[in-house]
């Protein structure tokens, strides 16, 4: 039962990294004995916030109050002492140890490592319906059981406030129901749960309160009894200034990219993409809207030649490029702004000028025959740094030292070099500051005026509506609707993205 004292109060939490504001003015109140959902798109600042609450990172501003006592959490150990425990998305269990051994690992002082611990595990397991046998090897457990073990571990250590990071991402629907039953038990025993997710159905099913985050801050709360998925989706993707202004159409008649019935299956024959067809003409921006994980990454990787479709054809201009690999496509003038710039877009320890070469190894000004053209690459890097306003001490600085926004501006500048005919832009302004965002939008618009064809994937509906000439909605690997950005509202898109129902 909810008691008078709130389990957690976060007030005015702020956290800055060099060049990026990860959190600012975050306010969250978790009532005691409730499941509190924290929702928001990737990059909205949820993970930074939970790291702060779990003592992994220290906030620059704001206060944390746990059960009425203001606290400073310097490490996860201190968080656990204060009663806060966390279950990560990636389990931290030793497969070759038993349930008991995993449980007591690092907490040997609490109940020893023998029968007392075994009794305590049984007690927790029975109390919350976890169904854990202390002497079973963890490698024998399925995903759901491992997750229950992780939750039990946190309880064993005395946590009363449990953070669950996207717990349902790894579960099948029946397991989700079972997990929710466990969570209700936890709640009834007076524990509080912070449930992090971007799956709106689940949030509405389990949460007592909902807090929505966008662009590093909390933008509102909702009551799951009355809120609809559409309202939540709107709050999540929102409309925050500056928003890109739609300009008059520059679409020409020349088709630059066409997909015809493209299907991609994984090694088990499951369809990741099903029968996708689209055309992008010169001067056109085609936006792809969709909740993350519905095939966007696979679509990009297929067009970029990193995956080869199981069926269907892809044409670049008049050329059939279905079986082309990435390098050939890049040489043919396909620019690529990847979704995860650290993993796919940059060599973090290499200087900026070497990063200019990446993806352009075979073309001037980076290369001359089989040789790298160091002078040409350096000169062109200086040009990009100036034209795209990349704030860096010099082109010999390793790209790791730059802020997210400046890294992204460098990538945009690089991919716009060498007169591309097609640009694949995957979340081009994710995790960048507002100034860089506006600059990147301007660059895309200018390129579009000059006849560039653009495929834009974004989680930010305002960005999609503002930049696109046409919007396709993708759901479970299929296109489920085509919209005209001038007439569509974020609500319409939101409902198409979540499967069409209005509830």
């Amino acid at each position: 039962m909810p008691s008078a004292v709130d389990a957690v109060q976060l007030r005015g939490i702020g956290k800055r990294f060099p060049g990026v504001i990860a959190n600012h003015d975050v306010d969250v109140t978790i009532r005691s004995g409730t499941v509190h959902a924290l929702i928001g798109e990737n990059g909205a600042g949820k993970s930074t916030l939970m790291k702060i609450l779990y003592g992994v990172q220290r906030p620059d501003d704001g206060t944390i109050t746990i059960e009425g006592t203001p606290v400073t959490l310097k490490s996860p150990t201190e968080a656990i002492e204060a009663g806060v425990g966390m279950v990560f998305q990636h389990f931290m269990l030793a497969d070759n140890l038993t349930v008991l051994e995993n449980m007591v690992l690092g907490a040997e002082k609490l109940h020893g490592i023998g029968d007392e611990a075994r009794a305590e595990i049984r007690r927790i397991s029975d109390r919350f319906g976890f169904d854990l046998e202390p002497d079973v090897l963890v490698e024998k457990l399925g995903v759901a059981a491992r997750q229950r073990l992780e939750i039990a571990k946190v309880l064993y250590r005395g946590a009363r406030i449990i953070i669950l990071d996207e717990p349902t991402a790894v579960l099948v629907p029946q397991e989700v129901d079972a997990l929710f039953a466990n969570l209700r038990e936890l709640k009834d025993a007076g524990n509080s749960v912070l449930f992090i997710s971007h799956k709106l159905d689940e949030v509405l099913a389990i949460a007592d309160d909902i807090t929505v985050m966008r662009r590093g801050t909390t933008v509102g709360t909702a009551d799951p009894a009355t809120a609809t998925k559409r309202e939540l989706a709107e709050l999540m993707v929102g409309s925050e200034l500056p928003s890109p202004e739609t300009e008059e159409s520059t679409v020409t008649d020349t088709v630059q990219l066409s997909l015809d019935g493209v299907t991609l299956a994984d090694e088990f024959g499951r369809h990741l993409l099903t029968d996708l067809s689209l055309t992008i003409r010169r001067g056109e921006v085609l936006g792809i809207a969709g909740v993350e994980g519905n095939g966007q990454s696979e679509l990009v990787e297929t067009i970029m030649g990193m995956r080869i479709p199981t069926a269907g054809r892809i044409h670049l201009g008049t050329e059939d490029v279905t079986h082309w690999h990435t390098r050939k496509l890049r040489e043919a003038g396909v620019g690529y702004i990847p979704e995860d710039r650290h993993r796919h877009g940059l060599l973090l320890d290499a200087p900026l000028w070497e990063n200019r070469i990446l993806g352009h190894q075979t073309r001037p000004p980076s290369a001359k025959g089989m040789w790298i053209n160091r002078k040409g690459a350096r000169k062109d890097t200086s040009r990009i740094v100036a034209e795209y306003d990349v704030r860096a001490p010099g082109i010999d600085t390793p790209s790791r030292a730059l802020s997210g926004g400046n890294q992204q501006k460098l990538i945009v500048g690089r991919e716009m070099s060498g007169d591309p005919v097609l640009l694949i832009a995957s979340h081009p302004t994710r995790g960048v500051d507002v100034g860089a965002q506006a600059a990147i939008w301007d660059h895309i618009k200018r390129a579009r005026r000059n006849g560039l064809a653009v495929l834009l994937i974004s989680a930010d509906l305002d960005e999609l509506i503002g930049l696109s000439d046409t919007i396709q909605v993708i759901l479970r690997g299929r296109f489920v609707g085509t919209f005209e950005p001038s007439t569509v509202s974020p609500q319409d898109l939101g409902s198409a993205m979540t499967g069409g129902e209005a509830a």
Partner: protein
């Protein structure tokens, strides 16, 4: 910018310096612990080597350096070619057999034999490359196994087709016309610096040019730094693995060639084992950089050759230098990581300082 560079060089020298000091310290402690005299040990080790040993040190440095470059090609790509040992064993045997058969005369025979050594080394490491790209077998496992297979195979061929001489077996001796003279910097009895030590110079320069000046080198370094970014940039990862594995093996094939055409003249009891593993250690010590590895090879050659003096001058076992070498490698790996983190922090601070004032 200028200060940053000076600091950068300072940091690069700092790590190996700490490592050397640390390894001297540990060696001293070990010698003291077993009851010998560390002072005697170090005075023997640091005594100026006799001319004969100086020649030896140069020859050993060359061979270790070639091995280090072979290892570094793999390391820069993120591959751990632990099979240098097997690759140069089988390549040396093949080259010695080919050279001994004397299909060609004079200098042509030398060049052709080097080509054979490279081809056989590349083929042997290529097996591990193919296993990795087609079956996903870790190159660490497969190259270790290939080491054992190579040694067994060479032993079998030698026993069945080698020239028996007393108790030993070796490949056919090189014809006098196809051995290469050397350069004797001191008196004749002090020995010669082998002609093919020049191969080490060529391999070092070639490695530097390949890595820093060519597209292939860029692809290699990019693959080593970030597999995902390399893939997105259009590099075919499987092709890169196979090509760099074979390149590493080809260079490994050259490791013992200076000795073959210098002093050994056949593959037999004079074959020097262990150079492959020394090369891996030196590559780590020199951080896979051409110049760094040169110093590393020199240090290791110096320690190995000079340790022979210990037998006569002291009661310390020559094997003690292996502890010095081992600690040096371990220490350099650790200190480099510490220095690297420190340096990243400095760079980040430099960037924020530079940008302070300017709005985000």
């Amino acid at each position: 910018m200028r200060t940053l560079t000076v600091k950068g060089v300072g940091l690069a020298v700092l790590a190996p310096a700490i490592a050397v000091v640390l390894s001297i310290l540990v060696t001293t402690l070990v010698i003291a612990a077993v009851g010998s005299s560390p002072g005697e040990f170090w005075s023997t080790m640091f005594e100026v080597p006799k001319p004969r040993l100086r020649v030896d040190i140069v020859n050993q440095t060359a061979m270790i350096y070639i091995a280090a470059v072979a290892a570094a090609i793999g390391f820069r790509m993120g591959l751990f070619n632990i099979g240098l040992e097997g690759q140069y064993t089988i390549a040396s045997f093949a080259a010695a057999s080919f050279a001994g058969a004397a299909y060609l005369g004079g200098f042509a025979n030398v060049i052709a034999s080097l080509a054979v050594a490279m081809a056989v080394g590349a083929a042997w490491s290529g097996i591990a490359g193919i296993l990795k790209t087609t079956r996903g077998v870790s190159e660490v496992i497969s190259t270790i196994m290939l080491n054992a297979i190579a040694v067994t195979l060479v032993g079998y061929f030698l026993n069945n087709y080698g020239v028996k001489e007393g108790n030993s077996v070796h490949t056919k001796n090189l014809e006098p016309g196809t051995t290469l003279g050397g350069f004797a910097p001191f008196e004749d009895r002090d020995g010669e610096i082998w002609a093919l030590t020049i191969v080490a110079v060529l391999v070092g320069v070639g490695f530097w040019v390949l890595l820093n000046k060519t597209r292939f080198g860029f692809d290699l370094r990019a693959s080593g730094q970030s597999e995902t970014a390399a893939l997105a940039s259009g590099i075919n990862p499987k092709r890169m693995i196979l090509v760099s594995m074979m390149l590493s093996g080809a260079v490994a094939g050259l490791i013992w060639m200076p000795a073959l055409f210098g002093g050994a003249r056949n593959y037999g009891t004079s074959f020097q084992v262990g150079l492959g593993f020394l090369g891996i250690a030196v590559a780590l010590l020199g951080r896979n950089r051409p110049v760094g590895m040169l110093f590393g090879a020199l240090l290791f050659a110096f320690l190995s050759v000079k340790s022979n003096d210990l037998t006569f001058g002291t009661d310390v076992s020559p094997s003690i230098v292996q502890i010095t070498q081992g600690v040096a490698v371990l220490a350099v790996v650790v200190t480099y990581e510490v220095v690297r983190r420190w340096r990243t922090r400095l760079e980040q601070r430099a960037v924020s300082r530079e940008l302070a004032g300017a709005a985000l």
